[in-house]
Amino acid sequence: MYLLVILIPLLSAVGSGLGGRYLGRKGAGFLSSVVVLASSFLSLVLCYEILMNGSTVYIELGRWIESDLLITDFGLQFDMVTAVMLIVVTTISGLVHVYSTSYMREDPHLPRFMSYLSLFTFFMLVLVTSNNYAQLFIGWEGVGLCSYLLINFWFTRMQANKAAIKAMLINRVGDIGLMLAIILIWKEFGVLDYCSLFSALTPSSACTWICILLTIGAVGKSAQLGLHTWLPDAMEGPTPVSALIHAATMVTAGVFLIIRSAPLFDYSPTATIIVGLVGSLTAFFAATVGLVQSDIKKVIAYSTCSQLGYMVMACGTYSCIGSLYHLLTHAFFKALLFLGAGSIIHALLDEQDLRRMGGIIRGLPLTYVLMLIGSLSLAGFPYLSGFYSKDLILELTYNNYCLISIYWLASITTFLTAFYSLRLIYLSFVTKPNLTRKSAHHLLEADWNLLGPLLILAIGSILVGYLAQNMVFAPGIRPLPLVPTVVSLAPVIMSVTGILLVFIIRPYLIYNIIRPSLYGFLFYAWEFNQIANYYIGSTVWEFGHIVSYRTIDRGILEILGPSGVAHFMVNKTKELSSLQSGLLFNYALMILVGTAIALKYLIAI
C-alpha cells in the first residue's frame, strides 16, 4: 500500500498519456480521476497509520549508487512530515483531476493534460517520500519538468511559451543551489540519506553553507524574493494547473525541503536568520503587490507567494512544524481560491480581468460563498483554518528572540492579506457590474464536476485547521507561544480591519488616482522584472554576445583553431610555390647553392 500510493499516479500518467487515443477524452478523464482519488484515499489510510498510530515506515527498494563510502538506496520514508505532505499532494491533486475533467471539457488534448497532471503528482510523491537527498532531487527536477509542460500546455500561445521557459530557467538557479548543497553534504558527511545524516550531524562551519545553499534551492522553487518572478508569469497555464502546481504543491516543495532539513538548520543560526528574513520580506513584498493587481489569477498568485513567505519565515523561527501546519491549511484554501477563480473565469467566458467583473454574485451564488470562505480563511478570520496556522506563526515570530522586525513585517502582511483577498471578492462579486453583455448572458454556475471539488475544499478550509492541529503536532507538543494578550489579538484585529477597510475605501480607484507612481510601482511588482532584465539580463546578454561569442568563440578560438590555421597554411604554401619561378637560371642557381651546401656538410662530416 505504501508503494501503491506512489505508483498509482504513475500508472494513470502512463495510461492516459500513451493510451489517451484509445480511451478518448472522457475515458482518460475518468481513469485518471478515479485512480488519483484512489491514491488520495490510500494516503488518508496511511495518515491514520502514521500520524495517529505514530508508526514511521521505512522501505528499502534497492541499491542505486554504491561507491567507496557513499551508498545511496532507492528508499521510502513515511514519517510525520511525509504524511502531511501526502495528504496535501494527493487530496489536492485528486480534486484538481476531477475539476479538470469539467474545466477542460472542450479541450481536444485532455488526455495529455490528465497525463501531465498525474505525472506531476507522481513526481511530487517521489519528492516527499524519498529517504535521501538524491532521490528527492529526482522528484524536485521532475516537478520542475511537469511545471514546464503544464504552463506550456497551450503551446501555441507565445506568452505561455515564454512563461514556461522563464519558470524553468529561474527554477534552475535554485536547483543549482540544491545540487551544490547535496554535493557539500556528501563531501562533509559522506551520506545522503536523512536518517544517517541527521544522526551524524556535528556542528561545523559547513553546516552554514549547506543551509544557505538549501535556502537558495527553496528560494527558487518556493518563489521567494529574488527568484519569485516566474510565479505570476506561470499563471499563463490553465487554471487547474495554477491551483495544483503553483498554489498547493510544487511551490511548497521548497518549504518541504527546509522542513526536511530542519536538523541541519538547527546547527546554523546564521542560515536560520537568513531564512526568516527572506521569508518575511517575501511575505510583505508579495502582499503589497497583491493589493493592486488587476488579473484575478495574479492576485492569488501573489498571495501564494506571500503565504509561502510565511511558511519560510516560520522555518526561520525554529518552528518547522508550524510551517508544515500552515502548508497543510494553505493548500486547502489556496486550491479553493484558485479553483473558484477558475469557476469565475469559466462562467465569464475566459475573462480574467477584475476590472471587467463585478456583480456576479447574482449569477454565481455558490461560487461566491466558496470564494468567500477561501478568502476569509486566507485572511486569517477566526475559526477558519487559516486562523489556526497563521496566528500561531505570528505569535511564534513574536517569541523569536533575534529579529523583531520579522514580526512587524508579518503583522503588516496580515493586514494587507486581508485587504487584497477581500478586494478580490469585492471587485469580482459585490461591486457594480462591469461585464460585457455576452458574458452577463452566459453567467451560470458550472456542473458538479467543477463545483464538487470546490465544496470539498471549502469544507477542508473550514475544518482542516481545527482537525489537523493535534495530528500535525502529535509527536511533539503543540508550541504554546507565551505572548501578551495584545499580541495574540493583533492578527485578528489586523485582518478584520483589513476586511472592513475594503468596504470603506473603494479599492483600485482610489490609489490609482491619489498616487499614480506608487500604484505603478506596486502594479509592476516593485519593478523586479525590469530591474532583472536591465541589470542582469541585458548585461549577461551583452557579455555573452560580445565577450564569449564574438571575442572568444568567433575570435580567439577561431583564429587559433580551424580558420586561422587554414589561412596560415594556405599563405605559406603560396609563398613556397612561388619559389618555382619557371626561370632556368634560378633553377641552376639553386642546384649550385644546394650542391655547395651539400658538399660543405658532406665533406665536413
Partner: protein, 97 residues
C-alpha cells in the same frame, strides 16, 4: 696544379654563364659545353699525372656525350624557336608554380 686551376676557372665560367645569362639560350648551351670541357681537362690532367688510361677513355666518352647533348639541345632549341619565335631565357617561364 695549373691545369687544376684552369679547369676550375673554366667550370666557374661555365656555371656563372648559366646562372647570370638572362638573354640567350645558345649561350646557355655553350656554357654547358664549357662545363663539360672543364671536366675533360681535369680528367686528362689526372690521367697524365696518375699514369692511367682511364681518364683518357672517360674524356672520349664525355666528348661523345657532349656532342650528342649539344645536338639534342640544338634540336630542342630549333623546335622552341619555331613555336615561340624567340629563344630568350627570361621568356621561358611559362611553367612557373
Amino acid at each position: 696544379m695549373t691545369y687544376l686551376i684552369l679547369s676550375i676557372v673554366i667550370l666557374l665560367i661555365g656555371t656563372l654563364g648559366i646562372i647570370l645569362n638572362r638573354s640567350n639560350l645558345i649561350i646557355m648551351l655553350m656554357c654547358v659545353e664549357l662545363v663539360l670541357l672543364a671536366s675533360i681537362v681535369l680528367l686528362l690532367f689526372n690521367s697524365q699525372v696518375l699514369h692511367t688510361l682511364l681518364g683518357q677513355i672517360f674524356a672520349i666518352v664525355i666528348l661523345t656525350v657532349a656532342a650528342a647533348e649539344s645536338a639534342i639541345g640544338l634540336a630542342i632549341m630549333v623546335n622552341y624557336y619555331r613555336l615561340r619565335g624567340t629563344i630568350a631565357v627570361r621568356s621561358l617561364n611559362l611553367l612557373r608554380g
